[in-house]
């Protein structure tokens, strides 16, 4: 009969109306500035650069290989290589970037740079409150550089895997060095 379905609908909304007052569980809204959701491991915004140790610039993992610059579909990374070399975590001499800029106005947060980087140097960040009182949208090396601990905090599983792989490589490299050093002595 006409009207029964309508009454059922009215019951439903009426139940919601009363229910939302005595059962706060029903309210799914997160009242943002005061309340926040737990960070999600898979969330990503703009990229950032990882440094090891305590020096945010000197400890950067980036070797200025420019793979990310070339792969970035939006062409928003700009790298200028430094001429001086310094040893990386395996002891090899590597270049490092003099300039590393990301134009965040163009970056579409696709994560390709993070996928292609062979040195686990560039990763996706989770900052989303990026409004400021300036108009600078290009982030420089010092804005981008964040510690490995921070990476471990925002993407725990991924960072643990990266750290384990790097420790493994480091161990192998040391063993190789030791093996290379042994026949040299006699």
């Amino acid at each position: 009969m006409l009207g029964l379905g309508i009454l059922k609908g009215f019951m439903e909304t009426g139940r919601n109306f009363c229910g939302s007052y005595y059962d706060p569980e029903r309210l799914t809204t997160v009242q943002y500035p005061e309340e926040r959701l737990e960070p999600q491991a898979n969330a990503r915004t703009i990229p950032f650069l990882i440094y090891d140790g305590s020096d945010p610039i000197g400890g950067l993992r980036c070797t200025a290989c420019t793979i990310c610059e070339q792969e970035c579909p939006a062409h928003c990374i700009e790298i200028v290589k430094d001429t001086a070399k310094k040893p990386d975590y395996l002891g090899k001499m590597q270049l490092h970037p003099k300039v590393f800029d990301i134009d965040t106005a163009v970056c579409m947060e696709c994560g390709i740079c993070a996928e292609v980087c062979p040195f686990d140097s560039i990763k996706m960040d989770q900052v989303f409150e990026r409004a400021g009182s300036h108009r600078r949208l290009t982030l420089h090396k010092d804005d981008l550089s964040k510690s490995n601990e921070y990476y471990n905090k925002i993407h725990p599983a991924e960072a643990a895997a990266v750290d384990a792989a790097r420790a493994e490589e480091q161990k192998k490299a040391q063993a190789r060095k030791a093996a290379a050093a042994v026949p040299a002595t006699p």
Binding site: M1, L2, G3, G9, G14, N16, Y21, R26, L27, T28
Partner: protein, 396 residues
């Protein structure tokens, strides 16, 4: 209690008395106008925020709660925003009509409040043909809506306006037809007279409100649906259906003109709700004799708020209709039902003199046998069968 009941009337008399004798009629008029505007202006502001909060709660959200305590200052923030927004008039628009349309919508609606009795002795003017005046004024909004749609020179606006015309004219018929039985019962076209006719209690405790008779209940149902359609409320908000027409006849309006349209629509809703309270819910009468010590305007306000809540509830519950469903519903369901209701009301009133035992029950049964089958049959057939698959002659 008498004083509290009449406090507004007394205040008005007292303030009028302060003015020089020559100016008294004018002052008295201005006072009433100011009071009406203040009360219903506040009502508008409160309804916008409470509606949003209620809708939120019905969808398990909080609704606005940021501006002021519990978000109650939200209307002020909205008002300031509307006032400071740029008022854009399209290049091709008919400037004069475009400017006049919001005024033409809002101004007549205020007039409708003049005839509503808000409490004992509390109607601005006691017109003999108050209800006729009300409907005449109410239909002015169609003109304004069409002015808005036509002058905007925009296809969406025009489509919205055409829909509005079709809808408002169609629903005016059941709206008026549903009120006719009330006029028959009261024997008068004057709204205070209609309220007076609903005073007293049947069997000593049932209030003699029209809604508590079989024809009144049916009429009230038809009236509510038609009232929602008349004031463009969900689920009948096709003229501004965002999903298909952007904002219908409001598309080209911005800033304060847009706010005026909003004001006009809400005031129209208030007016027709006030009429519903007057016609069917016993106006300012208390629901029981031991509650009569509460002021009459309080009762009017309570019934009024309850009906407004019902409209908000309706908006939260029902999805928008399609245009053909809308018109079919008016012409194939509401109008026939209102006509049958007229017959039922006539039967009820004619049999009013029956004196034998079970007379009341027999009258109820009589009206129910007229109304219930009609409701069921009409409810089954108003859609006119399932529509055939549509054939496109030229598009293939």
């Amino acid at each position: 209690m008498k004083t509290l009941d009449q406090i507004f009337v007394l205040t008005q008399h007292w303030l009028t008395g302060l003015a020089p004798a020559a100016l008294q009629p004018l002052v008295s008029m201005l006072l009433i106008i100011a009071a009406l505007m203040a009360v219903f202006g506040t009502c508008f502001a409160l309804t916008t925020i409470l509606e949003r909060k209620t809708l939120g709660r019905m969808q398990n959200r909080y609704g606005p709660n940021r501006v002021g305590p519990f978000g109650l200052l939200q209307p002020a923030a909205d008002g300031i925003k509307m006032l400071t927004k740029e008022d854009i008039v399209p290049e091709a628009a008919d400037k004069a009509l475009h400017f006049l349309a919001p005024l033409a919508l809002t101004a007549p609606v205020w007039l409708a409040f003049a005839v509503l009795p808000f409490g004992r002795n509390m109607s601005a003017i006691e017109l003999d043909a108050g209800i006729l005046f009300f409907f005449a004024i109410g239909s002015a909004s169609e003109l304004a809506v069409f002015m808005a749609g036509w002058s905007s020179q925009n296809k969406y606006s025009l489509l919205g306006a055409m829909r509005a015309i079709a809808q408002m004219i169609s629903y005016e018929v059941p709206l008026v037809l549903a009120s006719v039985p009330v006029l028959m019962a009261a024997g008068s076209l004057s709204l205070p007279e209609i309220v007076r006719a609903q005073s007293g209690y049947a069997l000593g405790w049932i209030p003699r409100w029209n809604v508590l008779t079989p024809w009144g209940a049916a009429g009230f149902g038809v009236f509510l649906v038609a009232a929602a359609a008349e004031s463009n409320r969900c689920p009948f908000d096709l003229p501004e259906g965002e999903s298909e027409l952007i904002a219908g006849f409001l598309t080209e309006y911005s800033g304060f003109k847009y706010a005026l349209f909003f004001l006009g629509e809400y005031l129209g809703l208030f007016a027709v709700t006030g009429l519903g309270v007057t016609l069917f819910l016993g106006g300012w009468h208390a629901p029981a004799s031991w509650l009569e010590w509460l002021p009459s305007w309080g009762w009017f306000g309570a019934k009024f708020s309850a009906l407004i809540f019902l409209f908000i509830w309706m908006r939260a519950t029902l999805p928008r209709l399609r245009l053909d469903q809308l018109l079919n519903f008016a012409w194939k369901f509401l109008v026939p039902l209102a006509l049958i209701d007229l017959v039922a009301a006539a039967a009820w009133l004619k049999s009013g003199g029956w004196q034998f035992a079970w007379a009341l029950e027999t009258r109820w049964l009589l009206c129910a046998t007229l109304l219930a089958p009609a409701y069921v049959c009409l409810g089954r057939h108003w859609r006119g069968g399932t529509p055939k698959p549509r054939r496109y002659h030229y598009a293939q």
